[in-house]
Amino acid sequence: MSAPQPPLALLAELSHRCPLRCPYCSNPLELERGSAEIDTATWLRVLSEAAKLGVLQVHFSGGEPLVRRDLAELVRHATAVGLYTNLITSGVLLDRARLAELVAAGLEHVQLSFQDAEAASADRIAGLERSHEKKLAVAALVREAGLPLTVNAVVHRQNLERLPELIALALKLGAGRIEVAHVQYYGWALANRRALLPTIEQLERATAVVEEARTRLKGVLTIDYVVPDYYARRPKACMGGWGRQFLNISPAGKVLPCHAAESLPGFDFPSVKEASLAEIWYGSEAFNRFRGTAWMPEPCRSCERREIDWGGCRCQAFALTGDAARVDPACAFSPDRELLTAAREDAAAPAGDFVYRQIGGAPARAAS
């Protein structure tokens, strides 16, 4: 295996705390409490180490990163050491004064989540009253401040029919980009799969809407589209490959190849409290375990796409088969393909209630 290249991007998950309770939250079921979060001095050191290691972009995320009072200080330091900064937020804690502070600190971009195009449904999905209204106001503040705006729209069976309205909303708010992301089924989303997974007919309509809008809005609004694995024939190149381009730091300081990796058993993910980012990136067993192609089972190992999709997603392989080293069932050549067939049949059944995210994990009934 050739030596690993330096990482391109860092996802800094500053906190798992969030006023929203979205049932597809990408945080793990075991949410970190505020008391477990690493302190400002540690984040400042980590940001310096990241820049030195070759990281180019830092995405401040969560949970809701604005729950951290030191966010502007972290943005200022990231900017000073040459990192390009991005804020991934629900927006509900952002006001004019806080935004001005972030702009002065060097913030380059805001990604703002929307749960639906229609307020009542959006507030129900977010599990927070009046959140949609607040987000509309925040989007206007971001544009007034001269920052580029991305609308992040996570889509699923309960909001997909309003995808045209979501795209129109992004345009109206002055966003340069909308990310239309089908739910990925890990953690909270997996516990809510029945309530979220669309049917193939819904997916095909959504894809047609995106294609039409891309043509109509070329040069005006960029539309990025993340398709659901469950209807794919080939797996996604998750994170561009394990330990190839990307690293994630959890609120407590664990360094992970992706935000879902903490759910994998049998790993000793290193902490920024114990080692430098460079030692962890190049030397840790956790980052080296699924690097390259030597770890792959057949048919991945001899597949002509092995250095295109890098074997798909390890967290999905584990979530569905119980073994992180198995073939990702999103691939049509997976021996476990029937696991997806069963899930797709659920998509035609009644949706059922949401299990909202909360401290303490999902109730037992949701895990079945």
Binding site: K218, G219, T222
Partner: protein, 97 residues
């Protein structure tokens, strides 16, 4: 519906990098990079030569003339490459008019 419209590259158009897009040399990798909102471009040598001439003042015709002279290449060939690349980067919001 009225609103922002797509800008088409013409010979007289002057282009610049969009606000909050950074074109810089990366010491770690020893190459030029473009940093943009949730996007990172690693332009090849030819693209770097073009991007170095994007300064908000030069017209697209001016960029083509300079490159045709510098590389002693047929102007029509350079024009097609330059126009195609600049249109693509405009459409992606990396450049602005």
């Amino acid at each position: 519906m009225s609103g922002p419209e797509r800008v088409l590259v013409a010979g007289g158009t002057s282009l610049r990098f969009a606000p909050h897009v950074k074109f810089r040399h990366d010491e770690t990798r020893g190459r030029w990079i473009v940093l943009a909102p949730e996007k990172l471009l690693l332009p090849d040598e030819q693209a770097v030569e073009i991007l170095k001439l994007v300064d908000g003042r030069r017209s697209v015709d001016g960029v083509i003339d300079e490159l045709a002279a510098k590389f002693d290449a047929p102007r029509a060939v350079i024009a097609a490459d330059v126009t195609g690349m600049l249109q693509d980067l405009l459409d992606k919001g990396i450049l602005a008019s």
